[in-house]
Symmetry: C4
Subunit: 252 residues, 4 copies
């Protein structure tokens, strides 16, 4: 078998779509944000990426039917307000550096095939402590995009994240820049210790405003409240030593 197989169930006709990536990472911020977006848009699945760079594993649905771990591509047609969108979500990122490079290269080929005008990669920025009001930090492939995103409320902060961006969220920008593909990474601040719907909400609020999508955040907010409840209870029980900030990189 090839290392990567893309299976299209449909080849949607899209007009200069914007591609959004939200794969597992720090606090699962990017994954939560992208999944909430595609739920809200009732986006339609049109392709699946299978790869020997993912774990050799199947997941089971409620009926006991297997699904090989994969990444999935959804689309949402323009509705007069927002443009055509492609959304990539998935169970895993590539397990090895080489796998990461090959998978991100595949996504870039898909972006080219559909004439993608701009990519957003979504992730978390682990800061090692609880965050009340998470900022959304940014990175981009060009100065013009940095300026445009700054105007939308994205924070470009010199030296943050200091260790750069690891994983698909970074690689799509790095490889994209070389290939001439415009791209922006949005990183929601997160402790990095929990799945973090609050960080996801922060990222998605900015993205929704950029894309001109209307989002009902009540579900994410309710998840965030549950996590807040758990963490405040944990705080009562134990007063743990706070991990050092420099131990936490960004993996997105």
């Amino acid at each position: 078998m090839d290392k990567i197989t893309i299976i299209y169930s449909e080849e949607p006709d899209l007009n200069k779509p914007i591609l959004i990536e939200g794969l597992p990472g720090v606090g699962n911020v990017g994954k939560l944000a992208a999944e909430h977006l595609l739920d809200q848009l009732k986006a339609k699945k049109f392709a699946e990426i299978y790869s020997a760079h993912f774990p050799p594993q199947v997941m089971l649905d409620d009926d006991g039917i297997v699904k090989l771990v994969n990444n999935e591509l959804y689309y949402s047609k323009a509705d007069g307000k927002h443009p055509d969108l492609i959304i990539i979500v998935g169970d895993y990122q590539g397990l090895t550096p080489e796998g990461q490079y090959e998978l991100s290269s595949s996504v870039l080929e898909i972006a080219k095939k559909f004439n993608v005008s701009l990519m957003f990669t979504l992730g978390g920025y682990g800061v090692g402590k609880m965050v009340e009001s998470p900022r959304v930090l940014g990175a981009a492939t060009s100065k013009e995009l940095v300026e445009e995103m700054t105007a939308k409320g994205v924070v470009f902060s010199k030296g943050e994240p200091g260790s750069g961006i690891v994983g698909a969220s970074g690689l799509l920008l790095g490889l994209g820049k070389i290939a001439g593909q415009n791209a922006v990474c949005l990183m929601g601040e997160t402790s990095g210790y929990f799945v973090d719907p609050k960080g996801a909400e922060a990222v998605l609020r900015i993205l929704a405003s950029i894309l001109n999508v209307e989002i009902d955040f009540s579900e994410l907010e309710s998840k965030a409240e549950q996590i807040d409840l758990i963490t405040s209870k944990l705080k009562e029980i134990e007063n743990p030593v706070e991990p050092k900030r420099e131990d936490l990189g960004y993996i997105g």
Copy 2:
């Protein structure tokens, strides 16, 4: 050398055979079940799979003759009751995720070559505690198969195994589903701490009933009694802290 080499000593003429896989995994349940089945059927070896994805290791037989570690294919012709069967057993699964994908893809090619109508993958489902009467859980590539297997006593339990199925037993279904190959995974409950002939017996009893094969279970039962003896002695000596259930995934 190629990463995978299949050497046929014979090319049996089989009529829509059913393929059964039993490779090492949790409690070696699948391997024990498949090996007992091929012993009982006096199945005949017809091919060997060698691979650079296995350890660089030879085993020795009682005479001191080496055998490179491999997977082996056996067949048993229909006897009026059971259909034509192919059974895959072996010393090892692939050492890396990529190796797992390539080896399972090879098995699917073999399945296609012999026009296999249905695959059964056998494994253990580690539950982290001693099991008196192991259930046989299932997973399948289609709803029809789930219904058919439920009627045969296989348990399809929502959320079990929660972490999906890792290894050849899962991958053959995951890749099989994509390739249009019908397949069922049968997982015998097992503590996961010991080689478990009791779990293997549970799996094989259901499989034998499905395949209409008559099996003498006395050997497996005697092995199970030996294991029971050892574990009850161990319990007397030490009263170990029971490992948490969520620590145990399924590797099949």
Copy 3:
């Protein structure tokens, strides 16, 4: 994508250039020396090496623009005193042995393409204790080069480094010798515990004298003083057990 991609922004016309490699390693001695050299020469970047053998990571500049991790090639034209020079610096070495081999082979192909007459690889030699006046040890692809370099003050000391030279600094010589490419490795003694500008200065002083380049060392000296300050303060605070010398190999 290919495992290694070289992107030329310019194809400089060079006359039998000398190639200098300074990638991350023990004490970052080689990287510091090569970067200081290219700063002093105001060398011009002409090519970038990207590779799936590097981490899947982007770095951010002060504006928030991403840069995929890479190795970079600079050149400096002969100025009547020093010959044409190519300088290779970078963020990372290959992550795996295979990656190391493939990347060093790529550099040798570049050396061939530009008709490189001699290569210098720069690195640190970790000795496990603070070094007042670091020696510069050498290794080379031929006896003639050993003699030539000895005359320039490079120390060729039997049994040092005892474990050989690991990484690009060694591999370029090892592969170079096979390919008929003359090459010398210069290793500055360093404790191996800190980034070591003093070791870098020692290496660069000898290299500058060989290449007939004039270097202003004040910046490296100032960095060295800062490190000295930090280490002397650390000595006051704690009197650590000195690690054994044999624990430290050379990775260059």
Copy 4:
């Protein structure tokens, strides 16, 4: 570059030579034995195997000249008593399972190219305790060879080594058997804790008698005495808990 490169300095004309492999492994028994053999025979180097499966490392000779880590092939022409011989020694075995398979396949291709009649692989069998009079255990590709070797004093002991033979010494037999290449593995008993010239001597005594080579063992004996001296001194100082035998496999 290719993963494996073989460079011939000479293509000796050999008549059905016997190939002997002695690479690093348990107690370095095989390496010591093969190196002593080629010293005694004044065998001549004719080829070098370089590979990205070895560490990215060079060794230095006494003059400071680099040598990329490799495996080396020597030959010794028949002298009326012993037949034509090829001897393989080296710094390292392949670092990964795949590397091991590819390197052993390369050696088998060399064996075929030179029409090798029989291969001997030399190794150590780690027993986890000091051994006064090491036995030489064997494994072979055929029953005829087992009988022949038993007659020469090689011990074929059911269940030893229980975990099979790992590494080149095993793989050359395993792959050789499939390729129709006769081969024998000779394993000298060794504690596994030290480089063991005594185990090497035991292996080489039997091999020399099989090949009809005259060997002066004084150098190996003197090395063995030195090791004995060191170990007896260590025994005096500390009385360590003896490691369990089952912890020690054979890697050869």
